[in-house]
């Protein structure tokens, strides 16, 4: 605290500095707390005693004087001072501290609280300090403190100067006679209703030249209501109560309203009122009262009305209410007056009486109404165990198996219609009829094409392979939507038939796809049993004839699909798999609640460049709590536990789920069918247009391909072979489907085994949007060799694939691997870029690629591109999914085989047929994009196929 000596004058010091410690001085013991004392400015001890002002200086130090007690004061004669007025003031008995600044009676002049500003004004304080220094008496600002502001406001002062007096109104003087000030009718707030009586009373003489000040206006009371009393409550005013002030304004709580004696006996004057304001029964008569009032009130029956209802007819002069009534009638014009004291402040009487509410009586209850409802238990046999059902049946005598007759919710529309006796609707019976002619035509076209194809293929495979191979044919592709493609349905039908009637079909049918609907399940089982017997029109027989066509077709479709899907598995195959211990889960799946809108609409909007509402979807999205915290934003949904998009449970087997899935598939399926199946194929554009939806990759890829095709006329040959191989593949896939066991065996020992493969449609269906196989045959030729070399070390050696290979999407990895180089080569730049090897064949990539690395870094890998299988839609049935996965796996394996095979072939440089078929197999992956200039007949194709096989 003590500052250094040299710069002492620069520092401000606070408090008393400690005494400098002497070297030789022994350390003093610190004084313990209990021994420490406080002394006041006069050196007297101060002690805490708890007296008036804060506790110090009480006790004998100040009052008693000595430790021993009172000291008798020495007698002083006051004779001389007799004349002086002995006036004891309170200050005589106060202590010194009470006169100090914070005492009870400070003697210095201080500003009272009224004039102290809330906030200390620093600038003014400073100014005052300065001025006090320069004042004649330094340190004193007496004058300033003596001046106190006037109590009344400046407005009042001004008014006074203008001649206004208290109690008058403000404004120019009026000529009218001044009203009596002490009128007993007080008006609150609002204006008086026009009263003619006042004018009529003004019959006194009013001199012309006398003016009066205007009436004073009662200011509107703006005091807020801050208590919990009722409106208009006023407490008992003690002044009025005790002094008996003007009783008019005071509500006398203690007189009965019915005590009308005072009203009646009008002779009693105000002066004769009792002195005390409080009177009435219950308060006795005081000793000072002059009168002896009858304090013991006797209530008489005459005080009460004895008749219910309105007033008595006639003049109503009798009865106690009469005078009052008369009086009121007289003052009818100023009706408000009757309510004086009853109207709350700020209120007036309504000019219009309130309309009475009409109350309707409650409806009469029927006599036999019972207020308790009895719920009949309805039990669905399908949902309860048979035991329970039986028990219920015995107890109730019936089961809800025939409950459809009871509950209308279980009826379908036909049944309800029949019950109601309505005629059937006249509108279109099937969805197909709703389609416009163009779409119908297109569908027909597709149908025809596929029909044609299938028939030829079937013919072919019948001749070449055993029919027992056919039952693992893919079903997914066949699952046609119910747009009433009858031939297709019949085709599927045939397939289902072949599946179920095959000798390997197991009789044990574990799967019940329509378990929810027992009757439907029964129909389905009937259908399956028909199938097993080889009945051709199993469907027609088993379906319910009473249903509408739409329902029937839907059911037909479902049955077909189910039959194909849940076909009896091979004994060998089924032995390899065990059934899941737990049911997949309940019959519902989680689906995002808000889905994006239709893509087709958006595409149209984008084409028209109408971005905005049409292309935008706004979806509720829940960020994670922690994420919000990290981003320093409040959680937008504080209460919710959802993260991401809100999900809803949806029925797994819902028709709508199937429908939506099917729609996608149908579209993707339509493309290959129409393009490969000998459709006019005038140009690829038309075919893709026919499909209605192109894969996004087509956009980028089509043009170069066309260009290439144009540039190199020899491509037509490949294109031709593409067609050939396409159908060949299809044929083959149709032909031979062996079970997995067979296949693995084959894979091990037979090199040139016939390839077993589902038809193309399956792949198309699986890799629906993956038509970005970019390879052109030229690229294949250009880079085929190196690609092989690269692929060789990496490829797991599997059985070589057969010569003819379909355009399996995974093969596109192989094809696309070399694609960047070929692209570059085509462009004519970086010719040597083709020497850059592609490194990882198994590395998958999709989406926009990365540019080629260029020559800079030869060891760096060039981008590889491969399609990822499209995400399986959740709604699809699990087993279906499994099935598909299985297929996929197979397929991948195969494609690898194929690679290897192709490689081998190329090394051998065997035959042209080989090459061409291989090339075509690869180039076929273009889908329908390559212009087909030729057509190879089926016979020729078959011949070629056989040829190949013979060679192997």
């Amino acid at each position: 605290m003590a500052s250094d000596g040299e710069s002492e004058e620069d520092f401000v010091t606070y408090g008393t500095p400690l005494e400098p410690l002497e070297e030789d001085e022994p350390l003093r013991k610190p004084i313990p707390v209990q021994d420490q004392t406080v002394k006041d400015e006069k050196g007297r001890y101060k002690r805490f005693h708890g007296a008036f002002t804060g506790g110090f200086s009480a006790g004998y130090f100040n009052t008693v004087g000595t430790k021993e007690g009172w000291t008798p004061s020495t007698f002083v004669s006051s004779r001389n001072q007799k004349a002086e007025k002995q006036n004891a003031r309170p200050e005589d008995f106060m202590d010194d501290e009470d006169f100090s600044e914070h005492g009870i009676a400070p003697q210095q002049i201080t500003t009272t609280e009224d004039f102290v500003s809330g906030r200390p004004d620093q600038i003014r304080d400073k100014a005052r300090a300065i001025s006090s220094l320069s004042a004649p008496i330094p340190g004193d600002t007496l004058l300033e403190e003596l001046i106190t502001p006037a109590q009344s406001s400046i407005g009042v002062e001004l008014l006074r100067k203008m001649g206004w007096k208290d109690g008058q109104g403000v404004g120019p003087r009026v000529k009218r006679r001044q009203r009596k000030q002490n009128i007993d009718v007080r008006v609150y707030g609002c204006a008086l209703p026009p009263s003619g009586s006042e004018e009529s009373e003004d019959d006194e003489f009013a001199p012309e030249n006398v003016t009066f000040a205007p009436k004073d206006v009662t200011p509107v009371d703006f005091t807020p209501k801050d208590d919990v009393h009722g409106l208009g409550y006023r407490g008992l005013d003690p002044l009025q109560a005790l002094t008996g002030g003007s009783g008019a304004s005071h509500i006398n709580l203690f007189t009965l309203d019915s005590d009308r004696a005072s009203l009646f006996a009008g002779s009693r004057k105000a002066g004769q009122h009792r002195k005390g304001g409080i009177s009435g029964q219950g308060f006795g008569v005081g000793a000072m009262e002059e009168e002896d009032d009858d304090i013991y009130h006797r209530d008489a029956m005459s005080n009460y009305d004895t008749v219910l209802g309105g007033e008595e007819p006639g003049d109503g002069l009798y009865g106690w209410t009469a005078p009052q009534q008369y009086r009121q009638k007289k003052k009818d014009s100023s009706r408000d007056a009757a309510y004086v004291g009853k109207i709350l402040e700020g209120f007036t009487l309504a000019s219009k009486p309130e309309e009475a509410k009409t109350v309707f009586p409650p409806p009469a209850l029927p006599r036999d109404y019972r207020p308790v409802h009895y719920f009949r238990p309805v039990v669905d046999t399908s949902s309860v165990s048979p035991l329970v059902a039986q028990a219920l049946q015995t107890s109730r005598g019936q089961l809800s198996q025939d409950a459809p007759q009871q509950s209308r919710h279980t009826l379908d529309s036909t049944q309800r219609r029949e019950m109601l006796g309505e005629t059937s609707l006249q509108g279109p019976r099937s969805v197909f009829e709703l389609l416009d002619s163009k779409d119908r035509e297109r569908l027909n076209e597709i149908r025809k094409a596929s029909e044609e194809k299938r028939s030829t293929l079937q013919d072919r495979f019948r001749s070449s392979t055993t029919p027992s191979h056919s039952h693992t044919q893919p079903q997914v592709s066949k699952a046609q939507p119910d747009v009433q493609l009858q031939p297709l349905v019949s085709d599927t039908q045939q397939q289902a038939l072949s599946v179920w009637s095959s000798p390997t079909a197991q009789t044990g049918q574990a799967f019940k796809p329509f378990e929810k609907n027992p009757s439907k399940q029964a129909r389905y089982e009937r259908y399956v049993s028909h199938l097993k017997q080889g009945d051709k029109d199993a469907l027609e027989v088993s379906l319910d004839p009473t249903m509408t066509e739409w329902e029937r077709s839907r059911e037909q479709d479902e049955f077909l699909r189910a039959a194909v899907l849940y076909k009896p598995s091979n004994s060998s195959l089924s032995s390899r798999f065990t059934r899941g211990k737990h049911e997949d889960d309940t019959d519902s799946v989680e689906v995002a609640r808000d889905q994006e809108g239709d893509v087709n609409d958006k595409e149209a909007a984008v084409k028209m460049k109408m971005f905005g509402k049409l292309t935008r979807d706004t979806i509720e999205w829940h960020p994670d709590k922690l994420l919000c915290k990290r981003f320093n934003v409040p959680d937008p949904y504080p209460g919710s536990s959802i993260v991401g998009l809100p999900k809803v449970k949806r029925d797994k087997f819902s028709v709508f789920n199937f429908l939506s899935v099917l729609d996608d598939r149908q579209i993707s399926q339509a493309t290959p069918t129409s393009s490969s199946g000998g459709a006019p194929a005038s140009s690829h554009g038309s075919s893709s247009a026919a499909s209605g939806k192109r894969s996004r990759w087509d956009v980028a890829e089509q043009r170069p391909k066309v260009k290439e095709a144009e540039q190199q006329p020899d491509h037509t040959v490949t294109a031709t072979s593409a067609t050939t191989s396409d159908s060949t593949t299809a044929a083959e896939s149709k032909v031979s489907e062996s079970d997995a066991e067979q296949k693995t065996k084959k894979a091990e020992d037979e090199e040139e085994e016939e390839e077993v493969r589902p038809p193309i449609d399956l792949f198309k269906a699986i890799f629906a949007s993956s038509s970005d196989e970019k390879s052109s045959s030229s690229s294949e030729e250009d880079s085929g060799k190196e690609e092989e070399q690269e692929a060789e070390p990496e490829m797991p050696i599997v059985t070589p694939a057969p010569p003819v290979v379909p355009q399996a999407p995974p093969t596109s990895s192989l094809i696309n691997m070399t694609e960047p180089e070929t692209r570059i080569a085509d462009k004519g730049e970086q010719k040597d870029a083709s020497s850059v090897k592609t490194a990882d064949v198994d590395y998958e990539e999709f989406g926009p690629r990365l540019p080629p690395p260029g020559q800079v870094f030869p060891s760096s890998s060039s981008p590889v591109r491969e399609e990822k299988p499209k995400k399986q839609s959740k709604e699809r049935h699990k087993s279906k999914k499994e099935h598909k996965h299985h297929k996929e796996k197979k397929h991948k394996k195969k494609s690898k085989k194929h690679k290897h095979k192709g490689k081998q072939k190329k090394k051998k440089k065997t035959e042209e047929t080989d090459d061409s078929s291989d090339d075509s197999g690869d180039s076929d992956s273009d889908g329908g994009d390559v212009i087909k200039t030729g057509f190879v007949s089926n016979e020729e194709l078959l011949q070629r196929l056989k040829n190949l096989r013979g060679k192997k």
Binding site: E596, V599, K602, E603, A605, V606, K609, M610, F611, G612, K613, T615, R616, D617, T618, I619, E620, W621, H622, P623, D624, L626, L627, C628, R630, F631, N632, V633, P634, P636, Y637, V643, G644, L645, R696, V699, A700, R823, E829, Q830, Y843, E844, E845, F846, G847, P848, R849, L850, P851, P852, P853, G854, Q855, V856, F857, S859, S860, S861, K868, K871
Partner: protein
Amino acid sequence: MAFPEPRPQPDRLPQHLLRTVDCQQGAVRAVRFNADGNYLMTCGSDKSLKLWSASRGALLKTYTGHGYEVLDADGSYDNSQLCSCSADKTVVLWDVATGQVTRKLRGHAGRVNCIRFNEEATVMLSGSIDGTVRCWDTRSRKMEPIQKLDEARDGISSLKVVAHELLTGSVDGRVRRYDLRMGQLHVDFIGSPITCVCFSQDGQCTLSSSLDASVRLLDKNTGELLGEYTGHQNKDYKLDCCLSEKDTHVLSCSEDGHVYCWDLVEGSVTLKLPVGKAVVQSLSFHPTEPRLLTAMEGRVQIWGAEPEEMDTAE
């Protein structure tokens, strides 16, 4: 949306080549400025990430630890951390000074295309070819992401973060904007696979380039098309686009070896910057100055508004 007001003097565009840096790390997959524009990061296909001084073109540090080519990188606001993503499916958080891997996060099912820090570098957001955006907490040691945004139906090609908004571009042709404050997801359908998305500097617009060789400027709030910029080539590759430092121009890479620069309001090509013969892979604009980075093959070029006088290293 308020367009920037026309300026009296012609805009300064980065049209002079200041420096060419040969990165010696294979193809440069991405080049990025750091938060203040003083440093730049290059992502190489030789699995390395390099930090350079933007003014001198000197190599400051090489970060190795990725298992495959590095595809994107970002620097934290305080320059203390870097994050990068790679084709090895990992996301790595680096300590700038030591060059050590602070965290290596696995979880993506495919290669990770893009990565960004949020403003305070508390979260790393990575978009992958598996169609998810994962939000990684840089504060905790948890190896799982805070949240996985799997709304996209195809791979995420690009993402940007500004304040509380996350913009992602996906190969399914949609630009998604996640508004954390509002708890909403806005999906804009573009149709063609998105290669790059950007916020404008004023935060009112989004820029998206797609494989149909056009760059579109959309109103952020309504999704309306404010401008479309075409003329460049972009059909195959994932190329970057960006806005200039004052939102006056739109820039995009092109497959014909140029960087195209359009006037934002008029939509006309104001500058066609010849970078080289190959594809311009990546570009990055300086946050405050007219300075541009382009990456072609193994080289990074730095472009400025005025030619550098004395200390040009070439």
